[in-house]
């Protein structure tokens, strides 16, 4: 199923959001502050792969997802789709690429226009891409069948408010699928849904990958779900990737203390198991003034001294395909 060719490659991607200062502050000091939402991130997503991006809120995972689709313009770095550098090509040139990459947003209660019917929501991408007339009704029906909203006729003329949360998220997925994209960003697609239907959406995602070989960037804060969905997983902390490997490696033999802490913070649905608690102190620092050196050193339980505070650890490959950015593992 996996071809080993990468579909999308990201190199040293950065996004710094400038902070607006008031008029008087700008008189006193000309210094410009930035929120370093994504700070030097590199990875690649292979064809037919579900690549997970995990982290706490504020770690920059959503911004990374949006950068890949150029919904946010990157400050620095490169995004390469197949062999084409799409980082700075113009909107007109980029439009054909939009057909090949789509997104499913987090909240299906907000991402669907309440005043449009399901049919017009799903066919809108076709309209925008100028594919009107090419058997539009048939394609809409097929997209609905793909997301298991059957029979399609029953849904075509309904409005979003008539559907449940899970059904809405399926509509959002059908909208993303109708252009048969090769790459879909799924930004926390189940965090707003009830536990009993979460699995349906995630299984659907896996099925679509198996059926069409679509690549996914799956953004999540729920590691227990990522464990069972993703092929590879990257863990982000304050705009940087701290660890990246295939999902079994990251979950069973985490190397970075932060990954370890994240995993041990997830409650286990078994009252008899006693988990090893590595509760780390405090909360994620502000990305405006990230800590020097290793960004995790202020909370790290395995702080080894001076070097963590002063030198930023690079992301290096310690085992085959297992990358980690921590001084403990870099000689």
């Amino acid at each position: 199923m996996h071809e080993n060719t990468s579909l999308i490659k990201v190199k040293n991607l950065k996004k710094w959001f400038a902070i607006r200062t008031g008029f008087f502050t700008s008189l006193i000091s000309a210094k410009q502050f930035f929120v370093r939402a994504v700070d030097d991130v590199s990875f690649d997503i292979k064809k037919g792969e579900i690549f997970g991006l995990a982290g706490e809120s504020g770690s920059g995972k959503t911004t990374t997802g949006r950068l890949l689709l150029r919904l946010v313009e990157p400050t620095e770095g490169k995004i390469i789709f197949e062999d084409r550098d799409i980082t700075s090509i113009g909107e007109k040139e980029f439009k054909p690429f939009r057909r090949r990459m789509q997104i499913v947003f987090q909240d299906p209660y907000e991402s669907l226009n309440a005043r449009m019917t399901i049919q017009s929501i799903i066919e809108e991408p076709l309209v925008i891409q100028g594919l009107v007339g090419e058997d539009m009704a048939g394609r809409v029906q097929k997209a609905l069948e793909d997301v298991q909203l059957t029979p399609p006729e029953e849904f075509l003329f309904r409005y979003p408010h008539e559907l449940s949360g899970g059904q809405r998220q399926r509509v959002a997925m059908a909208r993303a699928l109708i252009l048969s994209p090769e790459f879909i960003v799924a930004d926390e697609p189940v965090s707003m849904l009830d536990v009993s239907i979460r699995a349906e959406i995630l299984n659907l995602l896996v099925d679509l990958r198996n059926k069409y070989g679509t690549s996914f960037l799956y953004i999540t804060h729920d590691l227990a779900l990522a464990r069972h969905i993703c092929d590879r997983l990257a863990v982000m902390y304050l705009g940087k990737i701290v660890e990246m490997s295939n999902v079994d490696q990251v979950m069973l033999e985490p190397l970075h203390p932060y990954t370890n802490a994240l995993i041990s913070a997830v409650p286990v649905p078994d009252p008899t198991s006693k988990r090893v608690e590595v509760v780390i102190k405090g909360e994620i620092p502000s990305p405006i003034n990230p800590p020097s050196g290793c960004r995790f050193h202020t909370r790290c339980p395995l702080y080894i001294g001076e070097i963590c505070r002063t030198k930023e650890p690079p992301l290096v490959e310690v085992k085959k395909g297992h990358y980690v950015a921590c001084h403990l593992h870099v000689k």
């Binding site: 706490e56 809120s57 449940s164 899970g166 009830d194 536990v195 009993s196 239907i197 979460r198 699995a199 349906e200 995630l202 299984n203 896996v206 804060h221 590691l223 227990a224 779900l225 464990r227 069972h228 969905i229 999902v247 079994d248 979950m251 069973l252 802490a261 994240l262 995993i263 041990s264 913070a265 997830v266 409650p267 286990v268 649905p269 078994d270 009252p271 008899t272 198991s273 988990r275 608690e277 509760v279 780390i280 909360e283 994620i284």
Partner: protein, 322 residues
């Protein structure tokens, strides 16, 4: 020791389209020093149970039957005045869902805690109340000097801790926590849950934890109530519920929680369908349209809520037949 005994509680919401049977015949108990988890999907009535007990139902909500026995007083019979003066905060208190929004942004946190104390205990002076607020902050793990901050100066986790401090301000015996970890990040959530656990042990609190996340119940609670569509599907001690569940809904719900410790990747399990409309719940067992084991009897007759084993209650025809 049983602190709170809820018997056959029924709470309906009156709407223009009829009444919504949000809580329909719910029976369970809360013991001191023990936590009881209320679990279920959204709309199953778990929050309504808590607001019925504290009598803070939103408009249209009414307790139409049953008893809420707290230290042998039936709370259903008390009027609003008595509830406020005797029960709320002094005996039971609640940490609401989304604590970040439950604090008033324009008042200092200290003022808000002091207000809660002086409102329920009029003979306490403001100065004493402030001292108490500082002690409470220490108890929940916030630097006491920060009581005078405004809510926006706190992080999400600190606000949640401040809300817990406020709920504990008049030494209640029962604490309700409504989705205490939902809006928080994994690590912060783990810290807050650990805090709740230590507080429960230290203050011998009877705790009611309302959550949709069964893994939190597995970690924190001694007893577990699984609710579905306003009714209790299964109730018992947590180990029994997780290790030998009897109700198909409980089995399904446990199955939807993948374990992070799994050695291999698994396909996720779901419960197809969605919860019923409580304006006209289905005939018979309310779960039958989604139940894969449903029999003829399930469509017609409502299953009784029976004790199948000591302290293990279940409402399912299949489980209680033999």
């Amino acid at each position: 020791m049983v602190l709170l005994d809820v018997k056959n509680l029924k709470t309906y919401y009156y709407t223009l389209r009829g009444y919504v049977k949000a809580v329909d015949d719910v029976t369970f108990a809360v013991e001191s020093g023990k936590a009881t988890g209320l679990a279920g999907e959204s709309g199953c009535g778990k929050t309504t149970v808590a607001s019925s007990i504290l009598r803070v139902l939103s408009t249209g909500g009414r307790i139409v039957g049953g008893q809420i026995l707290y230290k042998n007083i039936d709370l259903v019979k008390l009027d609003e005045e008595e509830m406020r003066e005797k029960i709320r905060w002094k005996e039971m208190s609640i940490v609401f869902q989304g604590a970040m929004n439950a604090l008033n942004p324009v008042y200092r946190v200290s003022d808000q805690i002091v207000e809660a104390i002086t409102l329920h205990e009029p003979d306490v002076s403001k100065k004493e109340a402030l001292e108490r607020a500082k002690k409470l902050f220490e108890l929940v793990g916030i630097e006491p000097s920060r009581v005078d901050n405004y809510p926006h100066e706190f992080s999400g986790g600190m606000r949640q801790r401040a809300m817990i401090a406020m709920a504990l301000s008049s030494n209640p015996s029962v604490l309700f926590a409504d989705e205490p970890a939902t809006a928080l990040d994994v690590i912060v959530a783990a810290q807050v849950l650990k805090l709740l656990k230590t507080l429960k042990e230290k203050l011998n609190l009877g705790m009611v934890l309302i959550t949709h996340d069964l893994s939190i119940i597995a970690e924190l609670c001694e007893y577990c109530v699984i609710m579905y569509a306003g009714k209790i599907a299964e109730y018992g001690d947590t180990v029994t519920i997780f290790k030998s569940p009897l109700h198909p809904y409980t089995i399904g719900l446990i199955g939807t929680f993948p374990s992070i410790n799994a050695k291999e990747r698994m396909r996720m399990v779901s419960i197809p369908g969605s919860p019923p409309d409580l304006l006209n719940p289905p005939q018979g067992c309310r779960f039958h349209p989604r139940c894969k084991y449903a029999l003829e009897i399930c469509r017609k007759e409502e299953p009784k809520y029976l004790e199948v084993d000591k302290g293990h209650f279940v409402a399912c025809h299949l489980a209680t037949k033999t």
